[in-house]
């Protein structure tokens, strides 16, 4: 597999607070990478550094052989890296269809072509029945789906999902998992930030664990869950003790 996105020694500071310290990892083509870590570990900050919402203090982001550090977020998006937001930002005064269509216009001027892309994406994400509803009237699960659909409509090579399963019920989480696998099959790479272990363990190819801004380990899902440091930092001491006993 060819490496697609290389994150090299990213450090991000807000004043004296170090949100990310020397984080490096690689996303390969057609791979699902998950970024986990307790609250405040710096996952969203790292997301923002990669997508150009923040300019990292030091370090490089290299996409497909090209240094994209410090580029604006819209330039990065048009190169093929699209993100969603942890706090969903549905375009409230627009319908679901219009929400997705806005994304679909990225690589075309033609309304007809954008409508075709939108139709495909709506179908893929399963929100066709709600396409005429206003963003403001959607439930949280649908909002998250629209968030993903809108990002997908920009036809990215890497899709970055920021806690797109939080607050969903079991069935809805399963839907999103299936969607992720479907996207992988279509050749996309995914970077997922998530807390729900049951959901990401089965679908991830690689897991990166952050704690207090630093990367503590990286590896296959089964290796990561058995890593002592991870259990201590992420799953808590109680779970740590339990795992020792067994």
């Amino acid at each position: 597999m060819k490496p697609l996105l290389k994150i090299k020694n990213i450090t991000m500071k807000f004043g004296s607070l170090v949100a990310n310290e020397d984080v490096s990892f690689t996303i390969h083509e057609n791979e699902i990478v998950s970024l986990i870590g307790p609250n405040g570990a710096g996952k969203t900050t790292l997301f923002n550094c990669i997508t150009g919402f923040y300019r990292p203090f030091s370090g490089r982001v290299v996409y497909d052989g090209r240094d994209i550090t410090g580029m604006t977020s819209y330039e990065i998006c048009s190169l093929g890296i699209t993100r969603t937001f942890q706090i969903v930002k549905t375009l409230n005064e627009m319908t679901v269809e219009e929400n997705v269509m806005t994304g679909a216009f990225l690589h075309t001027r033609s309304r007809k072509k954008a409508a075709e892309i939108t139709e495909d994406i709506l179908d893929l994400t399963g929100i066709i029945p709600k396409k005429n509803m206003l963003g403001a009237n959607l439930t949280i699960a649908d909002r998250k789906r629209v968030e993903i659909a809108r990002a997908l409509a920009t036809n990215p090579r890497i899709l970055m999902l920021d806690e797109c399963m939080a607050g969903l019920n079991q069935t809805e989480i399963k839907d999103v998992m299936h969607l992720c696998l479907k996207l992988k099959k279509k050749g996309l790479s995914l970077l997922i930030v998530e807390h729900i272990m049951e959901a990401i363990m089965p679908i991830s190819d690689n897991i990166v664990v952050l704690n207090a801004g630093k990367k503590i380990t990286e590896g296959m899902p089964q290796d990561v869950v058995n890593n002592e440091e991870v259990i201590k930092a992420y799953l808590g001491d109680r779970y740590h003790a339990k795992s020792k006993k067994s």
Binding site: T51, F53, T72, S73, Y74, C77, S78, T82, R83, T84, F85, K89, L91, N92, E93, M94, T95, E98, M101, T102, G103, F105, L106, T108, R109, R111, A114, N132, M133, L134, G135, A136, N137, R150, A151, A153, T154
Partner: protein, 336 residues
């Protein structure tokens, strides 16, 4: 979209037939002003209704357009048609220059900045001798025996009817342009920027550029209206053309009609302009401001109960009717 176009044609046909039923000067005057302000409202709607950047300074572009055509006619005898285009270009350039730094400001601060810019431009015109400063310009009248072709060339008529059709033509062009833009990539992008700056950036939109395009188009249209207005009333001065009153009128009538909707400005103008003309005629000088008082009340009521304006009320009623017709199973689309 096809349905949309049909409605537009009907609207324009109705407006075109309207003057045939009346020859009253006061009424024709009201129709002309109505069309000019509706066009201004459309222009303002582009930047504020679609892109969400509140501008309180559109009188600046209106005034620049008026001055451009008036000055080159007054000084050099050049046809106002050319002045109109020139005014549009100057207004666009100024809009571009002022917007680029102002777009760094968000929300209220952008609105305040536009207010300040309009005031600065007014002060410049007040103390600028080349444009006759505070005295204003009386546009030279062409000979009364001039033929229609000549009158059209110099944009001066001794009758109100041609004005109605010139204004209507401009309005029709602008509303079709707005309708086209609304359904194009640019329209979608502007709305996305209005709803969320961050989402816009995350899906590959450069917000500054698109806001700039909207502002430039908006300023160009406003300037055209200014030129036509100047030629129509034949006298301009900075206090009249750059007044806050005009900026506010544009804002209020669009909000009343329905902000972010292409029919909003024409509906708002159709309520507001006849009201102000009527009070002006009936009450004369002593009644100045009464229209604004009534109008203020209407605005307060509208914004309290239906922030989408008259259009919002119509939509609400239409939805209710639809739901009744389908036995309470109407879709919940487009209500909020």
């Amino acid at each position: 979209m096809v349905k949309n176009k049909k409605a537009l044609f009907i609207l324009i046909a109705v407006l075109a037939l309207l003057p045939l039923f009346t020859q009253t000067k006061a009424l024709l005057n009201a129709i002309i002003l109505l069309l000019i302000f509706a066009t201004l409202g459309e222009a303002w709607n582009l930047i504020t209704g679609f892109a969400g950047q509140t501008s309180f300074g559109h009188a600046a572009f209106f005034g620049i357009g008026a001055y451009a055509s008036a000055v080159i006619f007054y000084r050099y005898g050049v046809t106002p048609w050319l002045g109109m285009v020139l005014g549009g270009i100057i207004a666009s350039i100024i809009a571009g220059i002022m917007s680029y730094p102002c777009f760094r400001l968000k929300g209220h601060y952008f609105a305040i900045a536009t207010l300040a810019v309009a005031e600065i431009i007014k002060q410049i015109f007040v103390s600028w001798n080349y444009v006759e400063g505070a005295t204003g310009i009386s546009i030279p009248i062409i000979h009364r025996s001039s033929g229609f072709a000549q009158r059209l060339f110099y944009l001066q008529f001794n009758d109100k009817l041609p004005w109605v059709y010139i204004c209507l033509m401009l309005f029709a062009l602008v509303i079709f342009l707005c309708s086209y833009l609304e359904n194009s990539k640019m329209g979608y992008y502007l709305k996305a920027i209005r709803e969320s700056h961050e989402v816009a950036e995350a899906i590959g939109i450069n917000p500054t550029n698109y806001k700039l395009y909207a502002m430039i188009i908006s300023a160009f249209i406003s300037a055209l209206c200014g030129s036509i207005y100047a030629q129509y009333i034949l006298y301009i001065d900075p206090f009249m053309m750059f007044s806050l009153d005009i900026s506010m009128k544009i804002v209020l009538l669009t909000v009343l009609g329905g902000i972010g909707n292409i029919y909003g400005p024409i509906i708002g103008a159709a309520i507001f302009i006849p009201l102000s003309e009527f009070t002006r005629i009936k009450l004369g000088g002593s009644g100045t401001g009464i229209d604004l008082m009534i109008y203020g009340l209407v605005i307060v009521l509208i914004t309290c109960f239906q922030p989408k304006g008259v259009i919002g009320i119509v939509e609400m009623l239409a939805n209710k009717y639809k739901r009744q017709k389908t036995g309470g199973e109407g879709k919940i689309e487009a209500t909020s």
